[in-house]
């Protein structure tokens, strides 16, 4: 029985003539905390989009929890247990913040075979999730009333609401203050200790180093490093391509 939750084999993605991803191999074991870094435009978000089904027509294979997800739509993959937050927040503008978090509860959690949550339980869980990210008193507001930072927190709460096995946080911490970053990192570590595998995509090196058990570096669509964080940041190629030494 495979202990890898996610297996990515030679994943490739082109947009017309432009090669966004060039043969990415990646394996993430259940319970790991993986950090993914790389310069802007290196293909991190494209990778996430391919994994989660938002983008199709990729070459190579993606296996989640032992099964090949080729042909599965994004919502099917979410129901399997993959959840992600979007780099540029995409809230549901016509509903309240609390309702935003309700959607994955109604459509992912309640769609699985486990007993469905009652509407009171859904409301309670939504409130709980908002409190976890620090938006407890914003439940009744609309996304347009939130700051950029609060919208990122909402993104994270919405991803968490899907009760995932694998959570991919795509630059969830941009613009947060020092203490807010620490809070979110602590939150993600707590989630991980509760059993959720987490891939953290970030530019904030402090957060990445604190959080990651393993660090992967993507540059121009290729993976150039994959190992323990301390080794990876000392890698010459990584220094040259990303850290700017």
């Amino acid at each position: 029985m495979n202990a890898n939750l996610l297996e990515v084999e030679r994943l490739g993605k082109r947009f017309g003539g432009f090669v966004a991803l060039d043969g990415i191999d990646l394996a993430v074991a259940a319970g790991e905390r993986v950090g993914l870094i790389g310069p802007n435009g290196s293909g991190k978000s494209t990778l996430v989009n391919c994994l989660c089904g938002t983008l199709g027509n990729y070459s190579g294979a993606v296996r989640f929890d032992g099964r090949d997800v080729a042909g599965l739509t994004a919502h099917q993959r979410t129901r399997l247990g993959m959840a992600r937050s979007f780099q540029l927040p995409r809230p549901f503008a016509s509903m309240t913040v609390a309702d935003n978090v309700r959607v994955p509860l109604l459509y992912t959690v309640n769609a699985r075979r486990a007993p469905r949550l009652s509407s009171e339980a859904v409301a309670a869980r939504a409130a709980e999730l908002l409190a976890l990210v620090g938006l407890a008193d914003k439940g009744g507001q609309f996304p347009r009333d939130l700051t950029q930072v609060e919208m990122r927190k909402l993104e994270l709460a919405r991803a968490m609401a899907a009760d995932p096995k694998l959570l991919i946080a795509d630059e969830a911490m941009a613009g947060l203050s020092h203490s807010e970053v620490e809070d979110i990192v602590a939150l993600l570590i707590r989630l991980n200790e509760g059993g959720i595998t987490v891939i953290l995509i970030e530019h904030i090196m402090r957060a990445v180093m604190t959080f990651s058990q393993r660090l992967v570096v993507l540059v121009s669509g290729k993976k150039i490093a994959d190992g323990s964080p301390n080794e990876v940041i000392r890698d010459k190629e990584v220094e040259r391509a990303y850290l700017g030494q």
Partner: protein, 319 residues
């Protein structure tokens, strides 16, 4: 209010309306009222797809006409009571809505809208060339003169359309207050994020198209009996396409009440204008109002009322 209670309230209101209309005992009230009720059904049906999910249907006339022509077909082939014809029309229109949706809903909203227009023209061409239902010459439907217990036939048609309006509004209300309503709203707001949150967008869009198409077909089923002589140009008429879009947008697309308000206001306005000025000016006014609301007040009348109420509430809070 749960939708069951809403249904009962709507029935009560409908009964009241029928009672008042019978008391006035002027056939014109029934004729005009039928048209307004028909628009309530069409506008509500359009809104389930257009307003709730954000996919614009330009071909409302097609589904309406399918309902009308299925009635004509059975009138010639094997006459049946209107309630049965309504169910048949629902099935046929619903199926066509499903089929069209399956072909085009995986594309962007703009392509879907254009495809609905294409469908309307294809269907019209097919009907124009189908002589069994009259083709371009049209078909005559002989209306019975009266119905037991209810009175003249137009009273009966009015009652049927009243019932359909209650059904349509209840369905819209029920959707809004259910998980399905949330799902539809996510599709409208951000389909990509909806998928990522686990919403099966294609399935929900197909539900919306089928439901919307079926309701429009149901609105069309009694039409041949109402009008007596059905031609493709009247069944596929321009006023159905514009009104199905204008009424929900002007009334407000986010709630079940919007199409109702839009249909009543525009419907009665049009009855008045058609009689006093002309039917072309009629369509012009609807077109102008549509453009005006879309530019200035995109949330419609209901949206304006809500934002005034919200501003009032904010001002009343102590500083």
């Amino acid at each position: 209010m749960r939708w069951g209670a809403f249904f009962l309230v709507a029935l009560a209101v409908a009964a009241l309306i029928f009672g008042c209309a019978s008391a006035i005992n002027n056939d014109y009230v029934f004729f005009a009222g039928y048209t307004v009720l028909q628009f309530i059904v069409l506008a509500t049906a359009w809104n389930i797809l257009g307003g709730y999910t954000g996919y614009v249907n330009f071909g409302s006339a097609a589904f309406f006409a399918i309902g009308a022509y299925s009635t004509v077909f059975f009138y010639k082939f094997y006459p049946m009571p209107i309630p049965v014809l309504i169910l048949i029309a629902a099935a046929i229109s619903g199926l066509i809505g499903l089929g069209m949706g399956y072909l085009t809903l995986r594309l962007r909203g703009a392509f879907f809208a254009i495809a609905t227009l294409a469908l309307a023209v294809v269907l019209q061409t097919l009907i124009v060339n189908w002589n069994y239902v009259g083709g371009s010459r049209g078909a005559y439907i002989i209306r019975p003169s009266s119905v037991d217990y209810i009175g003249s036939y137009v009273h009966y048609l009015f009652l049927i359309m009243l019932a359909l309006a209650v059904v349509a509004l209840t369905i819209a209300y029920a959707i809004e207050h259910s998980a399905l309503g949330y799902g539809f709203a996510t599709i409208r707001d951000d389909e990509l994020a909806a998928e990522a949150s686990g919403v099966p967008t294609l399935k929900l869009k197909l539900i919306a198209t089928t439901l919307s198409g079926a309701l429009m077909g149901m609105a069309g089923a009694p039409f041949p009996y109402y009008i007596g002589y059905l031609q493709p140009s009247s069944a596929f008429g321009l006023e159905y396409a514009v009104n199905s879009i204008a009424m929900p947008i002007i009334g407000g697309t986010v709630s079940w009440a919007g199409p109702l308000v839009g249909a009543i206001l525009l419907g009665t306005l049009q009855q008045y204008v058609t009689v006093t000025i002309s039917s072309s000016v009629n369509v012009l006014i609807v077109g102008v109002l549509l453009v005006a609301f879309v530019v200035v007040a995109p949330n419609g009348i209901i949206g304006l009322v809500k934002s005034i109420a919200r501003r009032g509430r904010r001002e009343r809070k102590p500083a």
